[in-house]
């Protein structure tokens, strides 16, 4: 396991946002974190990515217990987070965005030729189909933008990629594109934590599934132990769904 939590918890004042959650992600594996709105998904990833500190349980990176002080700290340990609202500038070209904040230098200058070439190569290595690295990021589709952000995290040495709902705002086809890059990152040996509320997106790509409900773990399953149907039922709370079906029935 590159990254692991044991009985981790977090309270905000009197609100128990997260309690007793154990999960982990290994190199070359995808761990999916599933849950409805308010299940504690975002609290969990904020702890994993160093935005919040946990106040119960333990957080281990490479088997060592850690307490991340900031997102920068997480990044330095190779834990990169790609948020839903990506840190991208729509009017800037793909290659300018790719290297923003970490521009390669040649003497005093920004090594533009290298930036262009490396961005193109990295995107191609991820199998990302960008027509032209000179086009503004704003002209890319949502899925392509996610893919560029993933490629950027991979290029800057991420070992673990935390993806916050990368497919939730996308259409079926675009979501498929992003899932393909998640698989690609996995194949390159990265550990991926994939947060989603869509079991149909999680199941095909995931190796392990952590289900959250009301701030706590409902269970962690390996792919062999669970089907999509079971995943869906568990996620929404099977009883609740049945109740809803009953309620919606014609009298």
């Amino acid at each position: 396991m590159i990254l692991e939590t044991r009985g981790i918890g977090k309270t905000f004042g009197s609100v128990l946002a997260l309690r007793d959650v154990s999960m982990g992600v290994a190199a070359g594996q995808v761990t999916c974190v599933l849950g409805d709105n308010g299940a504690g998904k975002s609290t969990l990833i904020k702890i994993l990515s160093g935005v919040h500190q946990h106040d119960a349980g333990s957080y281990l990176v490479d088997g060592q217990e850690v307490r991340l002080s900031s997102p920068r700290d997480a990044l330095d340990r190779g834990i990169a987070t790609v948020y839903q609202d990506l840190a991208m500038i729509p009017l800037m070209s793909v290659w300018r965005n790719f290297f923003l904040g970490s521009e390669p230098r040649k003497g005093l200058a920004f090594d533009v030729a290298k930036a262009r070439r490396v961005a193109r190569e990295e995107l191609r290595a991820m199998g990302i189909d960008i027509r032209d690295v000179d086009q503004p990021v704003g002209t890319l589709s949502g899925g392509e933008r996610q893919s560029v952000a993933i490629a950027r995290a991979v290029h800057f040495g991420a070992r673990v990629l935390i993806l916050d709902e990368p497919t939730s705002a996308l259409g079926v086809k675009q979501a498929g594109v992003v899932l393909r890059y998640i698989a690609r990152a996995r194949d390159r040996g990265l550990g991926v934590v994939f947060i989603t509320h869509n079991p149909h997106h999680a199941y095909p790509v995931g190796d392990r599934f952590l289900l959250l409900n009301r701030g706590t773990s409902v269970g962690e399953y390996a792919k062999a132990d669970i089907t999509t149907q079971e995943l869906t039922a568990l996620m929404a709370g099977g009883a609740e769904l049945e109740e809803l079906a009953h309620e919606l029935e014609r009298e």
Partner: protein, 343 residues
């Protein structure tokens, strides 16, 4: 999924790629305006005529280029025009009333100008107030100081007599002199303008700082999230504008050897207009230094061209407004194209 055989490449033709260059509108405007005036006035297209309209383009251009960088960084500076006056007034006052060497007086002006730029930058980045309001405040304050101090020292609204000051000859040759090219004398300010434009273009397109300028203007939050020093970038931009104001203020003071206390008022909008004609978006994150320089040339041409044609100078304002409207419309199209999301 291969990159080579992508059927979508076809619809991003050469025309569209050119369209997203920010300078395009300005270049078209430049050609149209040049053809219009030179068709009716042979003087306009003669070397002497060119030297004549390049002169106002140069001093305006130095400012427009600096203001363009600032606007790409997402901010405005309304105090830039008055600051040219402040720098000039400090130069002439210190040199004529307090016996300063001209170079030393210029240095003092530079220090004050940079301090004003720093103050603008610090207030804007610390408080997150719109720079429009903050620099409107500095604009009014400087305007008051320019008039108040000048009146208190001289009893009039101008300071003059720089010609007699020590070091005037040298400073004047460097900043306010002329050079002969093919029998026509061109103002040396034109060289400074070209230099400023070249440096600004290099910074914007080929330096890390340039990447940061586009980023802080395009989406400051996102830029900060990937480690761009947003506050430092913006403060540096305000100080660059202040530096340009000092340069232009000094050039004008040395050229006319006297400075009116109300000089520069209203110029701040001309700088912004030139930058917008050059392709800068009012919302930041997009634009070009060369575009702003071309915008300044259009101004210079119209300013002098109207005189060459013997028209009333009032038509200049009409022309200004028309150009601005056209430029903003063109820029809106560019932005829509650049930001449209393809599915």
């Amino acid at each position: 999924m291969t990159m080579t055989a992508d059927e979508r490449v076809a619809d991003v033709g050469m025309a569209r790629r050119l369209l997203i260059r920010p300078e395009l509108g300005a270049v078209v405007g430049l050609v149209v305006v040049f053809v219009f005036f030179s068709a009716q006035s042979p003087v306009f297209r003669s070397p002497a005529g060119i030297a004549n309209w390049l002169d106002p383009a140069a001093t305006l251009g130095i400012m427009a280029v600096a203001v363009a960088l600032l606007m790409i960084g997402g901010e405005f500076d309304l105090s830039a025009g008055v600051l040219t006056g402040t720098s000039g007034l400090i130069l002439v006052t210190l040199a004529t009333r307090f016996g300063f060497n001209v170079w030393l007086a210029m240095l003092a002006g530079l220090v004050v100008a940079l301090a004003v730029g720093l103050a603008n930058g610090l207030i804007v980045t610390r408080t997150r107030l719109p720079s429009f309001i903050v620099t409107l405040g500095t604009f009014l304050m400087l305007q008051g100081v320019n008039l108040g101090v000048t009146k208190a020292i001289t009893g009039t609204v101008q300071v003059s007599g720089l010609r007699r000051a020590e070091g005037f000859e040298g400073a004047s040759a460097v900043l306010a002199g002329t050079i002969e090219i093919g029998g026509t004398s061109f103002r040396i300010a034109i060289l400074w303008w070209i230099l400023v434009t070249a440096v600004a273009t290099w910074v914007l397109m080929r330096s890390r700082a340039g990447n940061w300028i586009f980023a802080v203007g395009g989406n400051e939050q996102a830029a900060r999230a990937v480690g761009v020093p947003a506050a430092r970038t913006k403060i540096a931009l305000f100080m660059t504008t202040a530096f340009a104001a000092w340069l232009v203020g000094s050039i004008l003071a040395l050229r006319y050897t006297s400075v009116q206390a109300n000089i520069g008022i209203g110029q701040e909008f001309i700088y912004i207009i030139a930058a917008v004609i050059g392709g800068c978006l009012l919302t930041g994150g997009y634009g070009s230094a060369i575009g702003a320089a071309i915008g300044a040339v259009i101004f210079g041409m119209a300013d002098k061209g109207i005189v060459f044609l013997g028209w009333d100078a009032d038509w200049f304002k009409f022309f200004l407004g028309g150009m601005l409207l056209l430029a903003t419309l063109a820029n809106r199209l560019v932005r829509r194209y650049a930001e449209e999301v393809k599915h």
